[in-house]
């Protein structure tokens, strides 16, 4: 039965089913009546109410609150037993627990909270970095607290399994860079310098940064989701209860694996990238293996190679620590794991690019241009 609202002056009568599908319609009508017929008191007859649900009870409470706000007294008439029972069953019980008191925060409180949050993130991150390096050194000399075979396992997961994607992307990057630069350089009869251009750019920049970005997406996200799931399913608590430190037991093997795998993958990326460039040199510029090889060897300095390797190690640490940080700070359920994984990839890639620019400045700032 549909609900109906009858009124005559200040007397309102509710009829039929006061259920969730009818509530908005009734409330709208009654609010209109209260505005149009401003009185000091009204009567609402519930005698013909057939059925009432939770939303119906809330409606009656809302009507009373709305009327009270307008200083109108409501008198309920002929309330059936079923409605009384529903009101008793569905009304909110008084809150006895001391809950969090919500209040509107002022600008300074918001600013203070924001500042405090950033501070606590930095504090936690600092402790994670300190603990990771402490246990990374500690694990080299102690047997306790590490899992047998875990380093090899992680090296396979982080390093070996990433070989195909790193190899493929690096080959294509080398190929594309060579193709684009060859088109320009051959106009000046300087096509042979494709070898210099690609070898230096791959070694100093593209090799480390492309490998880092791929590992941030592939292994950084895996580290975050694994640790976050362990936090959510209380596995990290279980480790703590067994007197094991989760950083030492879970993170350090990944830290080692990343520290070893990243430079190796970077070297591979550089070699394959240069090979990609050689394919273009051979097919597009008619440059043979020997002149190309000689050009690469003459162009590359030891400093370029070391720069690339140092960068790759720094990137590895950034990815593993930011990935773990996002994982360890997860609280809640599955949705939080997803959010943490996304945050890990975004923050790692940003940190890698930011660190690259800082390292670029450190290594090459103020260096005279060689002619």
């Amino acid at each position: 039965m549909n609900a109906r609202v009858h009124w005559s002056g200040i007397d309102i009568s509710l009829e039929g089913d006061i259920t969730i599908s009818q509530v908005s319609h009734i409330l709208k009508k009654i609010k209109k009546l209260l505005i149009e017929h401003a009185q000091t008191s009204i009567t609402i007859d519930l005698g013909l109410v057939n059925k009432i649900d939770t939303a119906g009870v809330v409606l009656l409470e809302t009507i009373e609150e709305t009327a009270r706000a307008k200083e109108i007294e409501v008198q309920w008439l002929n309330t059936p037993k079923s409605v009384k029972q529903a009101i008793q069953a569905f009304s909110l019980t008084p809150q006895t627990m001391t809950g969090r008191q919500k209040h509107k925060a002022s600008f300074f409180e918001i600013f203070g909270d924001w500042f405090y949050e950033i501070g606590s993130h930095l504090h936690d991150l600092f402790y994670l970095v300190a603990d990771t390096f402490y246990y990374a050194v500690n694990n080299l000399f102690k047997q306790h607290g590490k899992r047998k075979g875990e380093f090899t396992n992680q090296l396979i997961l982080i390093g070996m399994n990433a070989l195909p994607i790193v190899g493929m992307v690096s080959f294509l990057i080398g190929l594309i860079l060579a193709l684009q630069s060859a088109a320009q350089l051959r106009q000046f009869g300087a096509a042979i310098y494709v070898a210099d251009l690609i070898s230096i750019s791959m070694t100093r920049e593209m090799g480390p940064i492309m490998t880092a970005i791929m590992l941030a997406g592939r292994s950084g996200s895996a580290i975050t989701s694994e640790i976050a799931t362990m936090v959510v399913t209380e596995e990290t608590d279980a480790l703590k209860s067994m007197a094991l430190n989760p950083i030492q037991y879970v993170l350090v093997p990944k830290f080692y694996a990343m520290t070893v795998a990243m430079p190796l993958l970077t070297v591979l990326s550089v070699i394959i990238g240069i090979f990609g460039a050689f394919v273009i040199a051979l097919t597009y510029l008619d440059i043979g293996l020997e002149p190309f090889y000689n050009q690469v060897v003459n162009a590359l300095l030891l400093k370029d190679i070391l720069t690339g390797l140092v960068k790759s190690v720094v990137f590895a640490w950034l990815i593993v620590i930011l990935g773990a940080y996002q994982g360890f700070k997860v609280r809640g359920g599955a949705a939080e794991v997803g959010k943490a994984t996304t945050a890990s990839v975004v923050s790692s890639i940003f940190a890698v690019i930011f660190a690259d620019s800082i390292l670029g400045l450190i290594f090459y700032f103020g260096q005279p241009v060689e002619i």
Binding site: R100, T229, T233, E234, A238, S241, M242, L244
Partner: protein, 260 residues
């Protein structure tokens, strides 16, 4: 743990038989500004099964987390084996943790390891036993909980009850004198639940453990509890023997046992 403290700890363990193994005094704590436990004082006697009970959300699990220092209290004291754990540094507390087994609500088995590897973690980390010896001990522990057939399965291949039993096997891996458990029977059918209770009783008899469990399963409490701690909205309504709890005339406690 330094050697003096270690010596003291061992003396206390052997001599103070009547000292409560777990003693909490005026503990107040919560999450951020939300108070969960309000000035509670409880104890758990040695060699007895103590059950922390109460309605959902009353702070049982939070109290248990305090007992293994997963969270720090706002104020108050927590003593395990006579040692104030809130002020111990990490190596000292780790020494105490080696005498404690913890069984988490959903098992908290490491998903990347097999059941056998999970059970062997405490032995690998805290003893110098050889691999074949550890394997034998793992088989014994799993046999005790009736899971020897699942020794090489991964946690994802286990049912809820099996996971809890595997967690119990891991918790008793080092034959700890103190066992903590968070709702061991929750979500289990009555037969499996009774089986797990019998297992805990057996562990207590065979290994002389002191057991502290969180539970709100009345049938399970009646089967195994010697001593109960009844929490209500973050406060202690009763702390004492189970029989006395039922005759103390506390309305909420009576309702809990009558309706449970």
């Amino acid at each position: 743990m330094n050697s003096d403290l270690n010596k003291l700890y061992m003396i206390e363990k052997t001599q103070k038989n009547h000292t409560p193994i777990v003693e909490v005094t005026h503990l107040t704590s919560g999450y951020e500004d939300f108070r969960v436990l309000d000035d509670i004082s409880i104890f758990a006697p040695e060699h007895q099964i103590t059950i922390i009970l109460g309605a959902s959300g009353c702070g049982k699990t939070t109290l248990l987390k305090h007992l293994i220092r997963l969270i720090q209290p706002w104020s108050g004291s927590i003593r395990l084996f006579g040692h104030e754990i809130t002020s111990l540094d990490e190596p000292e507390f780790n020494t105490i943790l080696k005498d404690i087994g913890v069984m988490f609500q959903n098992g908290a088995l490491l998903g990347s390891l097999s059941v056998a590897e999970n059970v062997s973690i405490p032995m690998e980390q805290h003893t110098s036993l050889k691999e074949d010896m550890i394997r034998k001990l793992v088989e014994i522990k799993l046999d005790l909980v009736g899971l020897r057939h699942a020794i090489d399965l991964s946690p994802s291949e286990l049912s809820g009850g099996m996971r809890k039993r595997a967690a119990l096997a891991r918790a008793i891996a080092l034959d700890p004198p103190l066992l903590f458990g968070d709702e061991p029977s929750a979500g289990l059918d009555p037969v499996t639940s009774a089986g797990l209770d019998e297992l805990i009783l057996k562990m207590r008899e065979q290994l002389g453990m002191t057991v502290v469990l969180v539970s709100h399963e009345v049938a399970s409490i009646n089967r195994i509890a010697d001593h109960v701690v009844f929490l209500d909205e973050g406060k202690v309504l009763f702390c004492g023997p189970l029989k006395e709890a039922k005759t103390a005339g506390i309305q909420k406690v009576d309702d809990f046992f009558a309706k449970g």
